[in-house]
Subunit: 129 residues, 3 copies
């Protein structure tokens, strides 16, 4: 169920993008203990002038590989989120060559009644999930 | 006021898309009892590799007509949301030929002070709405 | 930290767009008292049929310069939001020629643990911010 929205600069190859999405999905499934088919990923690519990602004064240099990831999800603990940040940054660095300074993440939280996955039903309320 | 963000695959005709947006708007107005001019719809079209929508293991087969709809709104009841899911799935199937297994929806909730529709004012606070 | 997502119609020049983004950033920094490098702006441009922005019956006429701005942020007071709406509408009108009836804004609120700006860390929790 988490919905993952990725914003990034144009220029990713299909292979690199697929690898980044696959790794992110794997890390998400482990951190939030969801079904492997709980995969909802959307990618927005932008021209350089259409995406400005600075660093809040933290001294990180962003490259053209910067990924801004916004996740909408039911409630997750502080600990699970922190584990997700750390694990994702580590895996994207080691397996996809994305510097950990190029990954920014934010969460938006909603509730059980806020999801319908199809068939006009709210599956967290009906007991299907 | 609800803001509706639609993510879908490239390849919709203008006519089919307009019909889907019109029907969704109509259902939304009825379910949430808002003004007919409370229409804020944004469509993002994606190449197939840029949008992955699986099924959380519910056994639904998605087609290239899959619609992921994200709605930002002031609070709505559980009942109104469930009515919206059911009614939208039904209407999109019967009037637009979109399988009900191709419609996924999620809500994000905010508050009165979170909306300005123009003129620099928060119209839910000023009493204009 | 606020993440600003701008949806607008195709056709903006790079210069006009840059000016609009710069002014919005300046107003945001002043209203929310954040670091000047707290800049996270993403722009989505749409064909006219892909973005429908009406007026909730408020009698505003939208032009092809309409801007729908969605802001994800930690909690802000009602007063800070109202100041932001007013100030942004005023500055975009006077400095960018954008009618104040063409600016719609909405906020989504999250929490300290919901942000990682890089390096796999939640900087509002670690004390770095």
């Amino acid at each position: 169920m988490p919905l993952l929205r990725f914003d990034l600069a144009e220029g990713w190859s299909d292979t690199d993008l697929k690898s980044m999405l696959d790794v992110t999905h794997e890390v998400m499934v482990a951190a939030f203990k969801v079904s492997p088919r709980d995969r909802y990923q959307i990618v927005h690519e932008h021209r350089p002038t259409r995406m400005i990602i600075e660093d809040t004064g933290l001294g990180m240099k962003r490259t053209n590989k910067v990924v801004m990831l916004q996740i909408t999800t039911r409630p997750r603990t502080k600990e699970a989120k922190q584990q997700f940040y750390a694990s994702l940054a580590g895996e994207l660095a080691s397996r996809c060559g994305i510097p950990s300074s190029d990954l920014a993440v934010n969460f938006v939280t909603n509730a059980d009644e806020d999801w319908s996955f199809g068939l006009g039903r709210a599956q967290f309320l009906t007991g299907e999930l």
